[in-house]
């Protein structure tokens, strides 16, 4: 079960540039910090975030251990066709989360 909050418009006019904002619950453990027992906590970060619009990749980023916990991502896209934007996060320990938003373009 992942916890995700997304802010994207439900509708847009064709050609408009829209902003999509996404927040996800994740510890982003750096792999450099000692735990309570003095041993280094294993790295556990999101490595990659991608966004597709009707299957075509419109945004992608690699994440690093320097990014804070519960990362917030904001990006812009041009609204060409009605459809589904799929946001996907993948990372260490087999982490995989997905969120879909439908945007109607008039």
């Amino acid at each position: 079960m992942s916890n995700i909050l997304v802010n994207a418009p439900k509708t847009a006019r064709r050609g408009d540039v829209i902003e999509i904002k996404a927040l996800i619950l994740h510890p982003m453990e750096t792999g450099f910090r000692p735990g309570p027992n003095g041993r280094i906590l294993p790295r556990n970060i999101i490595e990659r975030f991608t966004a597709t619009w009707n299957g075509t990749e419109i945004f992608a980023m690699d994440m690093s251990p320097a990014i804070a916990a519960n990362p917030f991502v904001s990006f812009f896209a041009r609204a060409n066709d009605s459809g589904t934007v799929v946001l996907r996060w993948t990372g260490d320990e087999g982490f995989a989360a997905e969120h879909r938003v439908d945007i109607a373009v008039e």
Partner: protein, 258 residues
């Protein structure tokens, strides 16, 4: 002067200053007002405030069956938007049949042990924080309204004494910072008035949600005082005092703090 006279005298001074405070405009400031505009915007935007991730998680836990009783919070309390509205504004409170106050976390743990017949969740446990944030969020924008329960007076008084007592290697009291020097800077940070308006808070330094207890432990460590054990009654006493002092200010849960 006899002790009784002194107590009456202090009571009068307190009543007088309280009356003046009521007549003049309310000058109390939530920690929210001491933050920069960027952090205020982050708190106000429910899809940018990371505390809302925990409120969402708390909402999922609210309807999850747990414990030997295999009951969820929702099975007994229904929709939290109705049943939990305003509840956080009047905690800490004395539970039915009890004789000491519990904070909201403590109340939720009572429901776990007595009603769900599940284990107590330990302090700062993520599920406990998420449930607390979810319950307290139902009172967002409502004024803090401590209950009129005279059994609380002695505990609140204990909290007030702790607040004014010097302690730690730096020999400072909470009041020296949060009353006498509020609004001034300490190592680049504005000293807030210490109103518990936003708990549990998402503190950027913690990169996580944390309770008022954790915040108080940070302040105690800051003055090189030994923090009370995690289950100590002092935390509830101080919270009772702080909630009374913040009476009427609006709850912000989940607040952002730097």
């Amino acid at each position: 002067m006899s002790r009784r006279l002194l107590v009456v005298g202090l009571g009068l001074v307190f009543a007088a200053s309280y009356a003046t405070a009521q007549v003049g405009a309310d000058k109390r400031r939530s920690g929210y007002q001491d933050m920069g505009e960027a952090l205020q915007k982050m708190q106000d935007d429910d899809t940018a405030n990371p505390g809302m991730l925990f409120v969402q998680l708390g909402g999922q836990l609210w309807s999850k069956q747990t414990g030997v009783a295999d009951k969820s919070c929702a099975d007994c309390h229904g929709a939290a938007a109705a049943s939990m509205k305003g509840v956080a504004t009047r905690y800490p409170a004395i539970p039915q049949g009890g004789d000491r106050p519990v904070d909201l976390e403590g109340r939720i743990n009572l429901c776990r042990t007595e009603h769900q017949r599940a284990d107590r969740l330990p302090p700062e446990n993520r599920e406990l924080l998420a449930l607390t944030a979810y319950v307290a969020h139902q009172s967002r924008d409502m004024p803090i309204a401590p209950p009129y329960d005279h059994r609380l007076d002695a505990f609140r008084q204990q909290g007030a004494e702790i607040y004014r007592r010097r302690q730690g290697q730096l020999n400072l009291s909470c009041a020296i910072c949060h009353d006498d020097n509020a609004g001034k800077k300490l190592a680049g940070v504005v000293i807030p008035e210490a109103h518990p308006t936003g708990y549990p808070i998402y503190r950027l330094e913690w990169q996580a949600l944390g309770s008022l207890k954790r915040r108080l432990r940070n302040c105690l460590a800051g003055i090189r005082a030994e923090a009370w054990p995690l289950d100590a009654s002092e935390y509830v006493a101080v919270e009772l005092f702080l909630m009374d002092r913040a009476k009427g200010l609006k709850l912000e849960t989940p607040a952002i703090r730097p």
